[in-house]
Amino acid sequence: MKEVILSKDQQAAVSTLKSLEEPTRASTGKVRAGYTVIFTQPMKLFPYFFGLVFLLLWQFRGIHTLFSLERYQLPIPSDILTAMRENGDILLIYTLYTGVEIIGGFLIGSLLGWLAAVAASFRPQAGAGAISIMASLNAVPIVALAPIMNNWLGDGVASRMGIVSVMTMATMAVSTYKGLRSIEPSYLELMTSYAASTRQLFLKLRLPKALPAIFSALKINMSTSIIGAIVGEFFIASRGLGYLLSDQIRLANMPLAWACIVIAAILGIVLYTIIQLVEKRFIPWSISNR
């Protein structure tokens, strides 16, 4: 690395380093310039490195020593892996089962919340109030939702989808409504000057402007959905990761319980990453994506 610095103009190298310290719009163009990649590479690898250290620390009970935990409280990764291998079939089936609940509930809830926000944005005078009522749905705990949904929708997949839908609706509604409403007046004036219809105003201005907020809501909803489906299964379900988790944790079979948690976490990260990628695709113009 030293050679690279010396082979270039000293000043240029200095400025390269500087630009690394303070990433701005400036450095994005700059970072591409060949040799700087060498500097950025370790930074890009750091998250993986960190993850590895974390795993090792966990496996060799660093975490246990640090917090004086026992293995029966927090099993180590190899125990969890073993549990996963031994229960591979059931875990796979349950993951799919819970996955259906997650994705179904996520889509329905997000869509309903989105529709509510859109409807409210067309008539903000009446809509703002509706959004605040909807927002308070977030205050209904799963303990209450689970029996209600069980009574309404039975004890199958639909029940958890109902729980997840209610849990995700408010977030999407609040976030989208905010995005649709916070628009600089001059943009509205421009569209007014074209006599744009309400629909066009929505499609061409409000919606694109709200996309970042919508994606924030999707990200939050993704994790809400997973927790909603899993905890929803605690109460009545006879299948699924949440059912297995609650059962095994009561039986103090921590490795299998944690296998459920780990699978849920991986599922969460995968689904979350998908949303992030879609976001990058959909809104390359947002400042944070430039």
Binding site: Y72, N150, D155, S238, R250, L251, A252
Partner: protein
Amino acid sequence: SDKSATTTPVASTAAGATKSPSAEPLKKVKIQLKWVPQAQFAGIYAAKEKGFYKDEGIDVEIVPGGPDVIIEQQVINGAVDIGVSSFDSLLVNRDNGLPLVSLAQVTQKSSYRLLSKKSTGIDAPAKMKDKKVGTWMGSQQFQVLAFMEKNGLDPKKDIQLVKQGFTMDQFFGDQLDVATATIYNEYYVVLESGVKETDLNVFNFDDAGVAMLEDTLIAKKDWVDKNHDLAVKAVRATMKGWNYAIEHQDEVVDIVMKSVTAGSTTKQHQTTMLKEMAKLVRPEGFKNDQVGSFVDESVTRTADIALKYGLIKKPADLTAAIDKTILQGK
């Protein structure tokens, strides 16, 4: 704790004079209930209210349970000192390496019943074939399994085990053909909802000889070793409380009613609950000083069922699981 101080001044001063002459500060002990405050734990509330704990120089804090509380975890983590758990649950937790011991056995008989509506025509265990049978899962499903096998059904194939929530709505909504109920609560919940006793078929695990032991006092092994005397006193006071509760049911229901979440239950319901609990804690033929003791036959049966159905993987070391020295009081 302040409640007992104000309501039973006589008892506490008397105790102070006789039992703890040096006026040592009260030792704190936290007792974790298995569920929300109710007459299921009447003995503990009675002991606290009547100053039995204080007499032993103990200041007990009663920690309510709930659907998300796992008693063994609470005890193991030191969040509480003593927990009210189930004996079967204790065995499985021990099997998984948690160093817990049982100090006393509160209930001697199974509270669990299987219920079916007469309208379903399930009037004999054999008719449960291919039906949906509700259970609370966890360790509690195993006596259901034993019950089925005892009645000639293959518990793995012949019935459909369904997880039951903490409401009886699934039973009412016909999502279950057969539901599990405790005789002290769910059974009355069903009756209170308007279903007549005559409309129900009730199956008793005890009668079938497959009952597993339930409410038991557990503690962490090294806590007991360090606080043996304290454990002895706490258990002694609790059992004294139970005897008192069984003998003064009306008074103790009033005591319990002070601790239940106001508005969520009725005095009548708690009265029934205590009446039923009394039968489980001090069944016919049990003497006062036997309350809390371990009946070998029940203990071994519980361990056998647990082993047979894979609840535990290795035979339970019952001498290690039960700290008999506590009840013996020395």
